[in-house]
Amino acid sequence: MRRRGAFTWLFAWLVAVAATTASAAAPAVVTIGSKDFTESVVLGEVARLAAIDHGLDATHRRSLGGTRILWRALLEGEIDAYPEYTGTITHELVRDLPGDAGMDALRARLRELGIGMGDPLGFDNGYAIGMREETAVRLGIEAISDLAAHPGLRIALSNEFMDRADGWPGLKAAYGLPMDARGMDHALAYRALASGAVDAIDLYGTDAEIAYYGLRVLRDDRGHFPRYDAVYLYRLDLDRRAPGFVATLDGLAGAIAAPRMRAMNKAVKLDGEPEERVAARLLGIAPGAGAARGRAGPGLLEYTLQHMALVGVSLSLAILLAVPLGVLAARRRRLGQLVLGLTGILQTVPSLALFVFMIPLFGIGAVPAIAALFLYSLLPIVRNTHAGLTGVDPSLRESAAALGLPPGFRLRRVELPLALRSILAGVKIAAVVNVGTATLGALIGAGGYGQPILTGIRLDDIGLIMQGAVPAALLALAMQGLFELVERALTPRGLRLPAAS
């Protein structure tokens, strides 16, 4: 059974890779998280270096994704601390507080959840609306209320801003704005604005690009936007596990004024400095060895191993479950409809949402990503196994039955071999889709090719995006080629012959 040996070997290798990747992320005493934009990553680095300077073992799970992912990760104990904004906390995280609740009320409410909040770091990174200076001058727009007179303006907003209560819906109502807006990644929105593709975008008060692109920040003349003071959120049990660290974080209160933050953002985003070095300069300490690697972070090999582990483990598990499910579906019609329906529904869940759903179950990192990819890979394999088996020529199925062979033997020796091509085609589809979808894993800390893509989008660095996108595309092609070889090797020769008469 040479074939089976090869599969066992392959599986063992995948498990080994997964284990190595997992142990590479061995638990440190303190785990800092950050969202997928530069300022958050810089503040995450600041916290990590502060912890190390304090004598602790600390890791930084950078660029994990949006607010909900970080918040869940903090509640689940996957991370111990991350930088957040007061406006986000009151509007998104603990929405049962009155809008004018002070810091103390907020702190008390968070305490009930086991979460602590440090004092403001010293800058307000509230939302604002920005336009190109020349457009604003031409149309005579100075304040947000002036926008109402120009319904033809094209507005692109970050997806988070589109959704949140104090974002576009609130702004549109408060100012009676007639136009519609469309969602766009924040980093891309600047490019769109600069190129004239859109007329106005949402900004953060400390964005590095404001000065770089020469933008006009519109006055919030009706006082719609709440304050977004930067603070650290941390788990209250952290003080027990890492005594003194919370005090260290508190020591950063008031240390970062808005110009300082804007300068740090610019250093990273526009000048290409590593976050670690920028953070170290703020703290007045020497950057660690990691800073020498530059902002690309781990190398291509590590991304490749991580990515292949995500794909390999999730795909192997999916094959192990989906083929029996497909057999079951082909055997029992009723149950089959149910199985196909359920896996079909899984497929309609937006992939990003599926990744986020996995966080409460599996935390962050490779495991929830593998779980999501596993669920995503089921449908094509189940469907093709089912189609392959039900597509077996009925006269052949009956010939096997008429020989007096029991059902299990018929399945193994006749039906599955005849359905093999269809099953392998399903696995191939699952594998290729899986390689692409796995890039989203970086959003929940799973690493892989999504990491440089994510960082590249954040830093507006096409080269970095390509470092993830090109290998991902090549890996997808390689998967395609690999499965074509496997198909050729496993398809019995008798099925490849043209039928003689």
């Binding site: 052949l396 009956e398 010939s399 096997a400 008429a402 020989l403 007096g404 006749v414 019995p492 008798g494």
Partner: protein, 251 residues
């Protein structure tokens, strides 16, 4: 009804929806003799074979083997008492000839040497060139495939052989040659054979024990001579006349 039938149907009805493929049929298959079921397509003759194999179950009536009613739970073993050949052979395309022949024996625990020995025996009986044993079905001619199908049916030496239009898909020349071979094989094997065909000339060539079916019912039993001399009704007369109107042709 003969005193000691190998298989018998007793008032058997099998319906698909409103259509009765087999309609209250009572019929016996004499042990160690060849019976030919004949009729146009849709007459229910194939369904009779499928009932004997338990691939279909009667809606009413009973199918008996050696006088005992067949039971569903025995069918795996019962089927192994029967060799079954269908029109297109039903050979498994992913297996070689030897693989097809060895599937059931392999399940029954025969070793390779025994399978190979038996395959050589049957290749001799069916006049299949031994070199073809390693070929795949797609590499064989239609006639060769039917010889292999017959070999597969005979591998485990079952006491009964059921053939459903075994020559139906072959061109006339090959068909004629196989008719000769098949009859010789049946005579040599000396066992219970039930064959289905829609061709009266072919039926007469194989046996004097013909059963003519129409719309799921048995119209007449007997030899071709009986059919000509004393047709049971107008249908038999027409059926016989239609075949005789094509003198000299086999098909």
């Amino acid at each position: 009804m003969p005193s000691d039938p190998a298989y018998s149907l007793h008032g058997v009805t099998r319906a698909y929806g409103a259509v009765r493929a087999v309609d209250t049929v009572t019929l016996a298959f004499v042990r160690d003799e060849t019976t030919v079921l004949i009729g146009s397509s849709g007459s229910g003759k194939s369904t009779v074979l499928r009932l004997l194999l338990g691939l279909e179950w009667p809606d009413a009536g009973e199918v008996r083997r050696d006088g005992v009613a067949l039971r569903r739970e025995d069918m795996l073993e019962e089927r192994r008492r029967v060799g079954y050949v269908i029109q297109e052979g039903g050979l498994f395309p992913h297996l070689t000839v030897l693989g097809n022949l060895g599937l059931l024996p392999g399940y029954l625990g025969w070793d390779r040497a025994r399978i190979h020995r038996r395959a050589l025996e049957l290749a001799d009986l069916t006049r299949l060139p031994v070199a073809l044993l390693e070929r795949f079905p797609a590499e064989l001619s239609g006639g060769q495939r039917q010889r292999v199908a017959l070999m597969r049916a005979l591998m485990h030496d079952p006491p009964t052989l059921l053939l459903d239009e075994p020559l139906g898909a072959l061109d006339p020349l090959v068909r004629h040659e196989l008719q000769d071979d098949l009859r010789a094989i049946f005579q040599r094997l000396d066992r219970t054979v039930v064959m289905v065909t829609h061709d009266l000339a072919e039926a007469a060539w194989f046996s004097d024990r013909l059963v003519l079916m129409r719309h799921g019912r048995v119209v007449q039993e007997g030899s071709i001579a009986d059919f000509i001399r004393a047709p049971a009704d107008g249908f038999v007369r027409e059926f016989v006349a239609a075949r005789r109107a094509l003198p000299g042709t086999v098909a």
